[in-house]
């Protein structure tokens, strides 16, 4: 076992010498399960609003970018550990997350979250509400007095409502509308709630250069209106 470990270390030490001289690529981490923000398209590639946005931002900042997918649960630990350089996954800017990572300026304005259910008249303040683990919506429900059921993926939160496991689901408005379009039995219920400070890219706190580059690129897209066009194309949120 010992020689095995030593062998591993030796392998690890030598393996990537061959790649040492290439210039840095910025690796963009996303979830790939939150249409229309980000999803895996039929060719197996990352697609959606954030793919289009990220590619444009990289072009403006003159960076070479590569896309990777990561489970939502471990998306922040893998960023701070350096497995990718930026999170671009519909992540709302919140104070708790800001303690661990840094955010660029928001690329979509703070938008209300919406409830969806199978029928009208569901008890939103005391019933069973589904939300994705570790989202602002889950945090909101936990404090609202309703019973929270959490799921690892956005898709499962919708399925829970369809199966009757939960009375309603709370998520970003655009995701709820995409889900309703795909599943005719669902409908919007209750009043939207305002959560979070808009959606931004997550960057390591020590990576000030990258943050500055993306901030500048987002600002230039805001200034020339191309960001609003992109938001309109994918119908993810309200415009700036």
């Amino acid at each position: 076992m010992k020689s095995m470990l030593l062998g591993t270390v030796a392998l690890a030490l030598t393996a990537s010498v061959a790649f040492a001289d290439g210039h840095s690529t910025v690796r963009m981490g996303t979830e790939g399960a939150y249409p229309p923000w980000n999803f895996i398209n039929d060719n197996g590639e990352v697609d959606g609003f954030e793919r289009a946005l990220g590619d444009e931002l990289c072009a403006r900042a003159e960076l070479t970018c590569e896309w990777v997918t990561n489970e939502w649960d471990s998306i922040i630990p893998n960023l701070v550990s350096g497995n990718y350089d930026a999170i671009i996954a519909g992540m709302s800017i919140t104070a708790e997350r800001d303690e661990v990572i840094d955010f660029t300026q928001a690329y979509t304005p703070p938008d209300p979250s919406t409830y969806a259910a199978m029928s009208d008249g569901v008890d939103l303040s005391g019933g069973v509400i589904a939300a994705q683990t570790g989202t602002i919506q889950a945090g909101y429900i936990a404090e609202s007095g309703a019973t929270l059921v959490e799921f690892a993926t956005p898709d499962e939160t919708i399925a829970a409502v369809v199966n009757g496991e939960a009375d309603a689901v709370l998520a970003d408005d655009s995701f709820i509308r995409t889900a309703i379009e795909a599943n005719g039995d669902l409908m919007v219920v209750g009043d939207p709630v305002s959560l979070g400070g808009g959606v931004g890219m997550g960057i390591r706190e020590s990576d000030g250069d990258l943050k500055a580059k993306f901030d500048a690129a987002i600002q230039s897209m805001k200034d020339d209106g191309s960001l609003n066009e992109l938001i309109a194309t994918w119908e993810v949120s309200s415009q700036w």
């Binding site: 990537s16 060719n43 599943n183 706190e205």
Partner: protein, 294 residues
């Protein structure tokens, strides 16, 4: 894939399914069956090796080695798998990068730990951030194999430790009486005889390992369960092949796959058990001897 697939929206019936089941996403999903099989094929022997090492260490008369062997099995068996897969792997990855950092960037002055961040010099990154995606995936796969091997090795170690203790003392005494050294006794008598006692425990571990592969996605390796969930989920109009929630069908296919795999495993293990019992001083060995005599 097929020439008529260029515009999915006008397809119907079997053509739609033919195109749907051969789109890029499905082809990637089919490949992940290979990933899982490769993982099993590499992990099982590696874990057995770790387990054997652990068991031998735990039996050692040399104190520190024995403590290491016992410590390895008790600590790893006591830690939940999900902790291992969420945190240990990140720590392992950071450990490798730290070693490379020490070796490759001796002049680096910035601290490696800055708050929550873990920063090593770019040359020490593993894999390099400029490396193609397949290198990253291969590295993730390698970390997965190593983590699975460490976790399952600890369980295998305890199984083998018990199996070694189950070999009848008379066998070992006889070996000593024939003048074999402890080393010879270990190699010629103890190890060949212990497998029959170890196999039921090891076969349990194999079955658990077969079903543990969804933990792979925590490491960013996309396995068959991830793809079943991803492909089966409701697909709206942003997709070329929209469909309602079809997860039940995808998971049924997985059920068939897993039942097939476990049933083949069971048959192979039963045959192996029969072979190992041959000529052994156990009830199964004895009944085999009688069959031959009768």
């Amino acid at each position: 894939m097929f020439s008529f697939c260029s515009d999915p929206s006008v397809l119907d019936g079997w053509r739609w399914f033919a195109c749907y089941l051969t789109n890029g996403k499905h082809l990637t999903a089919y490949l992940s069956f290979g990933t899982v099989m490769a993982l099993l094929a590499i992990t099982a022997p590696t874990a057995l090796l770790f387990g054997f090492g652990g068991a031998v260490a735990a039996r050692s008369s040399f104190g520190p080695l024995r403590w290491f062997g016992k410590g390895y099995t008790s600590i790893v068996r006591g830690v939940p798998d999900i902790v291992f897969f969420l945190f240990f792997v990140i720590a392992l990855d950071q450990g490798f990068e730290w070693l490379r950092h020490q070796a490759l960037c001796p002049d680096w002055t910035d601290p490696i730990r800055q708050g929550n961040d873990f920063i090593v010099c770019p040359e020490a990154k593993l894999p390099q951030s400029s490396a193609p995606q397949w290198v990253h995936e291969l590295y993730g796969f390698f970390l997965a194999v190593l983590t699975f091997a460490i976790v399952f090795g600890a369980f295998a170690s305890n199984v083998l430790f018990g199996a070694m203790a189950a070999v009848p003392q008379a066998q070992l005494e006889t070996a000593a009486a024939y003048g074999m050294t402890p080393r010879q006794t270990f190699r010629r008598i103890l190890v060949p005889q212990m497998w029959v006692y170890a196999l039921p425990g090891l076969s349990n571990l194999w079955m658990i390992l077969v079903k543990a592969t969804p933990l792979l996605f925590l490491l960013g390796v996309e396995d068959i369960v991830y793809w079943a969930r991803e492909l089966g989920g409701t697909k709206g109009s942003v997709f070329a092949y929209p469909h309602p929630d079809w997860r039940i069908w995808y998971f049924t296919a997985l059920l068939v796959f897993y039942l097939g795999l476990t049933s083949v495993s069971e048959r192979v293990l039963a045959r192996l058990q029969r072979r190992l019992s041959h000529g052994q001083a156990t009830a199964a060995g004895e009944s085999q001897r009688r069959e031959v005599v009768a």
